[in-house]
């Protein structure tokens, strides 16, 4: 019955839940000051030095739940006072050094940074060390460790440094809002801004979908989430919150796959455009490859555009595993179609803010997309879908040489080679999160089974191929 991977997620969730609860009641201003005491009720500190600090941090979390710092365009923000200023000494020799004779560490160090004291124990000269890590690799006692901040370790685009007070500092020119640091910080000092207040407002002002209709576009990664209940129950919960209708983002994925294979065949080399963090990464780090990014909008934006075509006054909320989507929907090309974004974490908070126990609800259905659209949620899915698209559009002659990259490091390797014309592939599927969207920072849980869950969900699709799924889109 466990809902989250970590207690940090749970803490963040509790704040979102309480903020949402008072927002539904239109008592945000009156009741907001009470929330820190609801989250930290006793006089015994359990997380920090004292309850006052704990409550002060909760107050900061409330600000983020309300949308965060308006002057900061990034959706990922550091809560300065929550940052524990973890040590950053990099590679250092621990007590485990036995003072051996072999001195492999010394031999492997090209910089001559290893010295020995009178007990033959190793020391690293920080002025010479370049943090290559070779000494740590060769030490037979694993006596050399790399003390790096978890946030910096998680941030594969190297956007995190320290400010003058040693708190984490995010460089917005590098950050791609993937949320890896949000998920990895053991103190929960980095958070994604929330738009749940806007979403609650959208739902309320629709007056039960009479003024306009509010649609939820749900990412296929949902198949691996809310596993303490069924998918059908999670969907019923979304309707219970006041959404008029739920549409699969995977249907947008089918539409994208259908177009992307043609674009690939025409251009000869392409990168995917589905993952907003990956797109942002190319734009920031490999601007010379920008022209090769597929011109398709993301699946979520594609299906949202279609919904707005059929229902121009509608409002659309994307629900998924992704924090980068919170950046994407604010882009000029996407803003007309997607009105707001929330994560699965936030959806859980919204359920509970209304005391909706989804395990008690009936089963709703969600079935628009094909198997191929649905497997976009995991690494390799998009690659398979483009292959299928080529087949369905009689483009099977095209010499398709895809590479599926999950995690920014894998993306970086492929992009680096592409930028030097040394990549043997002609299609790069890029997903910033390891495993694809199922590894997204906004997921409640991350596990080995998630990929299987997505594949199983794919098999349940009524439509077996892309053309059938999108045939209705061409009306």
């Amino acid at each position: 019955m466990r809902k989250f991977d970590t207690k940090v997620q749970h803490l963040k969730y509790k704040v979102l839940r309480e903020v949402a609860r008072v927002a539904w009641q239109d008592q945000l201003l009156e009741k907001m000051p009470d929330i820190p005491k609801i989250i930290v009720p006793t006089d015994t500190a359990t997380m920090r030095c004292c309850v006052y600090k704990e409550r002060a941090i909760v107050t900061e979390r409330i600000k983020l739940a309300l949308g965060g710092d308006q002057s900061n365009p990034n959706v990922i923000e550091v809560i300065d006072i929550a940052c524990d200023e973890c040590p950053v000494d990099g590679y250092s020799v621990t007590e485990d050094c036995r003072g051996c004779i072999a001195h492999r560490c010394e031999d492997v160090c090209k910089r001559g940074a290893i010295t020995f004291d009178e007990h033959q124990k190793a020391h690293i000269d920080k002025s010479k060390c370049v943090e290559c890590g070779q000494c740590a690799k060769v030490c037979p006692y694993s006596a050399i460790t790399n003390r790096k901040r978890p946030c910096q370790n998680a941030c594969k685009v190297h956007a995190i440094s320290m400010d003058e007070n040693k708190a984490a500092l995010i460089d917005n020119n590098k950050c791609i809002a993937c949320g890896a640091c949000v998920y990895q910080c053991p103190f929960g000092a980095i958070m994604d801004k929330s738009f749940i207040i806007d979403i609650i407002d959208l739902l309320k002002k629709s007056e039960n979908n009479t003024k306009y209709k509010v649609y939820a576009v749900v990412a296929p990664a949902i198949a691996s989430q809310f596993t303490y209940a069924t998918l059908g129950q999670a969907l019923s919960g979304i309707k219970e919150l006041g959404f008029y209708h739920i549409v699969e983002a995977a249907l947008g994925a089918d539409m994208v796959a259908y177009e992307e294979c043609k674009e690939l065949a025409e251009k000869g080399f392409l990168t995917s455009s589905c993952c907003p963090a990956f797109v942002d990464y190319i734009e920031k780090q490999f601007p010379q490859l920008k022209e090769h990014i597929s011109h398709n909008l993301s699946p979520a934006a594609t299906i949202a555009r279609y919904i707005k075509k059929t229902d121009p006054t509608s409002k659309i909320v994307f629900i998924g595993p992704c924090t980068a989507k919170k950046m994407e929907f604010q882009k000029e090309q996407v803003r007309p179609y997607i009105d707001s974004v929330m994560t699965f974490e936030e959806l859980q908070a919204l359920y509970d803010s209304r005391d909706i126990d989804i395990t008690k609800l009936g089963e709703d259905v969600l079935n628009n997309a094909s198997y191929y659209g649905r497997i976009f949620a995991r690494s390799g899915g998009l690659t398979d879908a483009v292959q299928q698209g080529l087949k369905e559009r009689d483009l099977a002659d095209f010499d398709y040489k895809p590479i599926a990259c999950d995690g920014i490091e894998a993306c970086r390797m492929a992009l680096l080679r592409a930028s030097k014309n040394a990549l043997p592939n002609n299609f790069i599927e890029g997903m910033a999160c390891v495993g694809g969207c199922i590894g997204g920072a906004g997921c409640l849980t991350h596990g080995e089974k998630n990929k299987n869950d997505v594949d199983k969900y794919g098999m349940l699709a009524l439509e077996k191929d892309i053309s059938s799924a999108i045939s209705l889109m061409n009306l």
Binding site: Y215, Y244, H245, I246, V247, E248, I307, T310, D311, D364, V365, L366, N367, N368, L462, E463, S468, S471, L472, M473, L475
Partner: protein, 81 residues
């Protein structure tokens, strides 16, 4: 004339694609392409009686196996007078 077929999940599972395909065929067969605008919409709000089809705002419940009958009774007469 505007014919809108619900393509929401519930109706989709009841066969809205088949209904659309048959309607497209019938419209072509009777040369009504210029006179009928066929479109899709996510959820017309009567999921229990899907597949929901509206003909100029009037709601009908159609299934793949009675689409032709529906077309002859509720669509064609408007063009035969």
């Amino acid at each position: 004339m505007n014919i809108t077929v619900c393509i929401g999940s519930s109706c989709h599972l009841k066969g809205s694609r088949q209904v659309v395909e048959q309607l497209q065929q019938l419209i072509a067969q009777y040369n009504l392409k210029d006179q009928i605008e066929l479109s899709g919409k996510f959820c017309i709000g009567n999921c229990v009686n899907g597949v929901c089809v509206t003909v100029d705002e009037q709601l009908f419940s159609v299934q793949p196996d009675n689409t032709e009958e529906f077309f002859h009774n509720h669509v064609l007469p408007a063009f035969q007078s």
